[in-house]
């Protein structure tokens, strides 16, 4: 019974992405999508990849990291520099997937370098270290020549498009969903729930913490490559501390450990400020009010009952599981 529900939830996540993609294709083909709307597609996908991957560390592993933008920038610069180097040797269709791999693996490599010393420690050192990492990466990029320094990196081929973006988003969501359902995902969640018991049950805690951290960084790097190939200039300032916090907000609003929630939050919170752009003066005020409202709705008791009423499927499940629990308890007597 439970199995079916798990499956359903995961397919809803996939469906959201496929439907968004289908809608984009139809609107672009029929010419109903404005230029502005088209320009949103890649950034929305980037946002989803960032939020879903960060959810793996923050939601499933239960470790606060504040350097997701740092891994994104490592991926962006590695991917862009690679694409520029091979620009005249390879066609875009070969170059871009390779750039994605280069960017993802570079970010993963950095996460190993940070993760190996830090994740074997018992305390919550990861937040501090990843925060510092993001800032250090930023200063290094600003001070190097190969990255274009403070002026930013120009001349990257514009290989990103919405088809690639949606494909990579789907890959990210499928990989992370499958991972969290598997034995590895179980180990990761067990460490979150009770590290000491996980260790005593034979789980190699450092290994699985590292696994979650590195996979999340890989996808942050992929998002960075998409980003770097979508704009004519990549500048280090984009990937600062604020960007990391912004991604964290998406994860928290969507719900820790909820992949579907991350997808929805990442989409809505990209669209909202864009739509509000016309109301220049009030934009940030409305945006903050909406954020606060979502926070309250997500956390308050009264609202959660309203939310449950709206979520029919969940209501059914609750009804069902309570009935079952009742029976189980009766059996116990």
């Amino acid at each position: 019974m439970k199995k079916k529900i798990v499956f359903k939830e995961k397919y809803i996540s996939y469906l959201i992405i496929v439907v968004m993609f289908a809608a984009a294709v139809v609107m672009i083909r029929t010419g109903t999508a404005s230029r502005k709307l088209q320009s949103w597609l890649v950034p929305i996908c980037i946002n989803i990849i960032l939020a879903v991957s960060l959810n793996l560390t923050v939601g499933f592993l239960g470790e606060l990291t504040l350097g997701h933008a740092g891994f994104m920038s490592v991926g962006a610069y590695a991917g862009c520099i690679f694409s520029q180097a091979v620009q005249n040797v390879m066609p875009a269709a070969v170059r871009f997937p390779l750039a994605i791999l280069v960017g993802g693996l570079s970010a993963a490599l950095f996460s190993v370098i940070i993760g190996v010393p830090v994740l074997r420690l018992k305390g919550d050192y990861l937040a501090i270290v990843t925060l510092a990492f993001g800032e250090i990466v930023k200063s290094i990029i600003i001070n190097l020549n190969i990255t274009g320094g403070a002026a930013g990196l120009r001349g990257t081929p514009q290989d990103s498009n919405y088809i690639w973006a949606f494909a990579l988003t789907l890959v990210t969501v499928v990989v992370i969903t499958n991972l969290t359902e598997s034995g590895q995902g179980r180990a990761i969640k067990a460490i979150r729930d009770n590290r000491i018991a996980a260790e005593a049950s034979g789980i190699d805690v450092t290994y699985y913490r590292l696994m979650a951290f590195v996979i999340a960084a890989f996808f942050a790097g992929v998002a960075g490559v998409l980003y770097g190939h979508n704009y004519s200039i990549t500048s280090a300032g984009t990937f600062d501390y604020n960007k990391s916090i912004e991604i964290l907000v998406l994860v928290v609003l969507g719900g820790l450990g909820s992949i579907r929630g991350s997808i929805i939050a990442a989409t809505l919170l990209y669209i909202l400020p864009e739509v509000l752009r016309d109301l220049q003066d009030y934009r940030m005020i409305i945006y903050s009010v909406v954020l606060i409202l979502i926070m309250i709705i997500n956390s308050s008791e009264q609202f959660s009952s309203v939310k449950e009423l709206l979520d029919i499927r969940k209501a059914f499940r609750k009804l069902f599981s309570e009935k079952q629990k009742g029976e189980a308890l009766n059996d116990q007597e």
């Binding site: 598997s182 590895q184 180990a187 969640k189 067990a190 729930d193 009770n194 000491i196």
Partner: protein
């Protein structure tokens, strides 16, 4: 009523005692001169302990005597200041907690430690983790091999849960269950790691007499079915005297008495440790 054992305990050359049926086999656990200091405080000292392969042993003593600390030493949560631990003849010194678990020591905790937000069956599957899990690639791709492993783990987990009549709880969140059920899930999860030695830290705490009686039968059933050794820390003397074959009594971190339940019951040092000196009473 918890029924008593009728087992003959025989001395080894080291003058530890083990059940007669285990005497020809090498002991599963052999602890020599174990000790640990926390700063200036010597929490455990001079701890010598032998467990027969299928023995049910008891570790008792007043609050703060160092019983849980001994379990933490046996599972390498703490590094001992002195002494050695041989698990089935292998020194566990320098191994990590998870390695020791894989070598064959499983435990439950005095304060229940479950994976609260995971289902009961997933809690048990964590115990099975090192036997049934597929590699990262097949997990991420959900290959046929992945589904096969999951199915095997599910079946094994259900089998273990049904051993305690817990199969109906399988899909519930572990954290939502009543206390007694949580204690049992902890034991199932520990058994899932296929231990040679099972350490139970106050498993009867918070249980009523009938639950405790059921626990006593379950402890015997575990030993008979899985053929493993069990060490029991418990304050409930009926339980300890009923199920344990050999008992060690700790006071201020040192063993003050060892023997069969009958010997322990009549030992003046033990009575003094529990009730205070004659003139204090």
């Amino acid at each position: 009523m918890i029924r008593n054992n009728d087992v003959k305990m025989v001395p080894l050359p080291s003058n530890a005692i083990v059940p007669e049926r285990d005497v020809d086999k090498p002991p599963v656990l052999s602890v020599h001169q174990l000790g640990i200091d926390f700063g200036g405080l010597t929490a455990v000292d001079n701890f010598n302990f032998i467990m027969g392969r299928t023995e049910i042993g008891g570790l008792i003593g007043p609050n703060g005597a160092g019983k849980t600390t001994v379990f933490n030493l046996l599972t390498n949560v703490y590094q001992p200041t002195r002494g050695t631990i041989l698990l089935d003849g292998v020194n566990t010194s320098g191994k990590s907690v998870s390695q020791v678990s894989r070598m064959g020591i499983a435990r439950t905790f005095q304060n229940i430690r479950l994976f609260d937000r995971m289902s009961v069956i997933d809690n048990v599957k964590i115990g099975l983790h090192n036997r049934y899990d597929s590699n990262l690639l097949s997990s991420v791709l959900h290959t046929p091999g992945y589904f096969r492993h999951e199915k095997q783990a599910d079946e094994k987990a259900m089998e273990l849960l049904s051993f305690f009549d817990m199969q109906d709880y399988a899909q519930h969140d572990a954290g939502s269950l009543p206390y007694g059920a949580q204690r049992r899930i902890e034991i199932v999860r520990a058994l899932a790691t296929e231990p040679k030695v099972l350490l139970l830290d106050e498993p009867a705490a918070g249980m009523n007499p009938s639950e405790t009686e059921e626990l006593a039968e379950n402890i015997r059933r575990i030993r008979d079915t899985f053929g493993i050794a069990i060490v029991l820390i418990e304050h409930d003397m009926n339980l300890v005297m009923g199920v344990c074959e050999g008992i060690a009594v700790l006071n201020y971190g040192r063993i003050i008495a060892k023997g069969t339940p009958d010997e322990i019951k009549s030992n003046p040092d033990v009575i003094e440790a529990y009730l205070g000196k004659q003139e204090d009473r």
